[in-house]
């Protein structure tokens, strides 16, 4: 029983972090109908930036977050404006291929710079945990959970209350009409992608702090998780991504307990396929195709 509770608790805190990984991915897919294969690579880039800041300058990863966010936002903006915007109107699998190629470039660039070795950021507190009975809750992941929640709320507020948010939503719903209203679509798309990249970078920083990462397997794993969670939660749905993350985290953790640990990936895939077949709009979302931002 205590194992079950431990698995459930760990699944929840893992899920919060996974949700953070997926929020940006879901946003980009929902607004621009772009499936970003390089999302995981962007997250790992953020992780490396935080890692360097920690190793060279002793900066605590939580303090490094704003730096990572700004750097990744700029990178994402440039990528979208300069590259992805060029194929937006083409058939969908062209953007898939473009982001796939981008993924290869970023991954291998990171590997050449930093080697394929596993890295992690060593902090004195992140791996410590407090115990509630027989269940240990790690500080680091719990903090990541709260961060994820905070960011999601902030993002949702931005989308519903600010001009920028309205512009993004409008462009997502009907790009032509938005342009007629004077919204600069190229810029808005770039801003959206920048935000998603920044979120990915922050998620990567958290992953580096509580776990480990490397440029060969981590990006692919993160992107795959982001797929599953976005579908679960509904495209473009901020809170949906968080809920989707929680569901996946718990499912994987409990699944790993009941079956052996090697079934975890199969579980994620099963969750994905069942959701798509039964309820493609996700657990919370309403819109099926194209992006409607639901908040």
């Amino acid at each position: 029983m205590s194992q079950f509770l431990q698995a459930a608790a760990y699944g929840v805190v893992q899920g919060g972090l996974l949700g953070l990984v997926a929020v940006g991915f879901s946003l980009v897919w929902g607004i621009m109908n772009v499936v970003n294969f390089s999302h995981g690579a962007l997250a790992v880039t953020g992780a490396y930036i935080a890692w360097i800041l920690n190793i060279r300058f002793g900066v605590d990863p939580f303090l490094a977050i704003p730096v990572v966010a700004v750097a990744l936002f700029a990178f994402g903006y440039v990528l979208q404006r300069g590259l992805i915007n060029l194929v937006i109107n083409a058939p969908i699998f062209l953007t898939l291929l473009l982001t796939f190629g981008l993924n290869l470039v970023i991954l291998n660039g990171l590997q050449l710079l930093f080697t394929a070795d596993d890295r992690t950021i060593d902090t004195s507190y992140a791996s410590q945990s407090f115990a509630i009975g027989a269940v240990n809750v790690p500080y680091g992941r719990l903090a990541a959970c709260f961060l994820a929640l905070g960011i999601t709320v902030a993002l949702a507020l931005m989308m519903s209350r600010t001009r920028l948010g309205h512009a993004i939503g409008a462009t997502g719903m009907d790009r032509g009409a938005a342009r007629l209203m004077g919204i600069r679509a190229r810029h808005i798309y770039a801003v959206t992608f920048g935000i998603a990249a920044a979120l990915a970078g922050v998620a990567g920083t958290m992953i580096a702090t509580v776990g480990s990462f490397n440029p060969t397997t981590t990006p692919g794993q993160l992107t795959l998780d982001a797929f599953v969670i976005s579908v679960l939660g509904g495209l473009g749905n901020m809170y949906g991504a968080l809920v989707g993350g929680l569901v996946l985290g718990i499912a994987e953790s409990l699944g790993g307990l009941l079956l052996t640990g090697t079934w975890v990936n199969a579980i994620a895939m099963a969750v994905l396929i069942i959701t798509l077949v039964i309820r493609p709009s996700g657990l919370i979302g309403k819109a099926m195709y194209g992006g409607r931002v639901e908040v």
Partner: protein, 358 residues
């Protein structure tokens, strides 16, 4: 009684009329003129050349060309479901892996001859395609892509976990030495021939389908599925059959691959990069045509080999960069770009970029 005017193939599709295969073939033969016989003649010529080259070939390239033929077959297979029917499947590698493991398990665990295991592998691939195709082909666009990706990953995980049958993470080995071997190993020339035949058959199948009534139905589903349904095409049947044909070719390729490799792990034959390579080859060559995937497969496999040999640790990075550049500058595919450019005498690549950008 007045004669109805003879209708073209499109009209036949719309009216659901059936024709005997003999009748169609007869029509086809009668309609051949020197001008439109080019593709068939060229096809045979290339096939014969490849056969003959086997004797003259510079030794280092035989294995390489075998690889090229494998990808030609895979690209053609993907093109059937992705290019013509418009359902971009990202899980084709599932059939490859299933075909490979079926052959390996039958040969290793039950000492079945390869020639018996091969058709079983194809049947397994087709069955799996039908089983997942019926629910998944209801989805469209990105959703279908992701769902098939999930199915492929799931298939791999299941195979990975059936350790007692498949060896799981420890891999599986087909016995090829001594009395254990149910079928003697083909050897390099044998596999060269096998994959060449597979590639030729896949090109022929793709070409035949493209010109047939079924091919028109596939294209109709791609262009406007609802309209196609409205004029009486059973879209589900069309999609599932296209998916199954594609799966059959891929499973067959997987079976040959398994025998060639002898020893492999789940991650090798369920490697998602096979799928991505298939897609890239078709898209870069030009989807929706027979020649595009062929050119794409040949070009990309040779490029990949060249990079790996000459650029060492940079090869993946450069490969990714090349993909990005080709997608940006030739979004319709290199072959189709060349064809259109030749026809309209407009070679500007920048115009190409302007067409699809925001």
């Amino acid at each position: 009684m007045t004669q109805k005017p003879s209708a073209g193939p499109v009209a036949e599709v719309l009216q659901g009329r059936s024709r005997s295969t003999q009748g169609m073939f007869g029509d086809w033969i009668r309609s051949r003129t020197p001008a439109n016989s080019w593709p068939v003649v060229a096809g045979f010529a290339v096939f014969a050349a490849m056969l003959g080259l086997q004797q003259l070939i510079v030794p280092g390239t035989q294995r390489l060309l075998t690889s090229v033929f494998l990808f030609v077959a895979l690209a053609q297979a993907w093109n059937i479901i992705g290019g013509y029917t418009g359902y971009a499947s990202f899980g084709q590698v599932a059939f490859f892996g299933l075909g490979a493991y079926t052959v390996a398990v039958l040969m290793n665990n039950y000492h079945v001859s390869f020639w018996v295991a091969l058709p079983v592998a194809v049947v397994v691939g087709v069955l799996f395609a039908v089983v997942i195709g019926v629910p998944l082909l209801r989805l469209r666009g990105h959703y279908f892509a992701i769902a098939t990706l999930g199915a492929a990953e799931g298939a791999r995980e299941v195979v990975n976990n059936m350790t007692s049958v498949t060896g799981g993470g420890g891999g599986i080995t087909i016995p090829t030495f001594g009395s254990e071997a149910p079928t003697p190993y083909f050897g390099k020339p044998g596999f060269y021939l096998a994959f060449l035949v597979l590639a030729a058959v896949s090109v022929a199948v793709a070409a035949l389908i493209a010109r047939s009534r079924f091919g028109y139905a596939m294209v109709a589903v791609h262009e406007d599925e609802d309209a196609a349904g409205a004029v009486g095409i059973n879209t589900t049947v069309v999609k599932v059959i296209a998916f199954a044909v594609s799966a059959a070719i891929v499973a067959c390729a997987g079976a040959f691959y398994a025998f060639q490799q002898i020893e492999f792990y789940p991650t090798d034959v369920f490697d998602a990069s096979f799928t991505v390579l298939m897609v890239i080859m078709v898209v870069i060559g030009g989807s929706g045509s027979v020649v595009g995937p062929l050119a794409g497969a040949v070009g990309l496999e040779l490029l990949s080999q060249f990079l790996r040999v000459n650029l060492g640790s940079f090869n993946q990075l450069i490969f990714g960069a090349i993909i990005v550049l080709v997608v940006v500058f030739f979004p319709q595919g290199v072959v189709i770009y060349l064809r259109d450019a030749w026809r309209t005498r407009q070679f500007s690549i920048l115009d190409n970029v302007r067409r699809y950008r925001l």
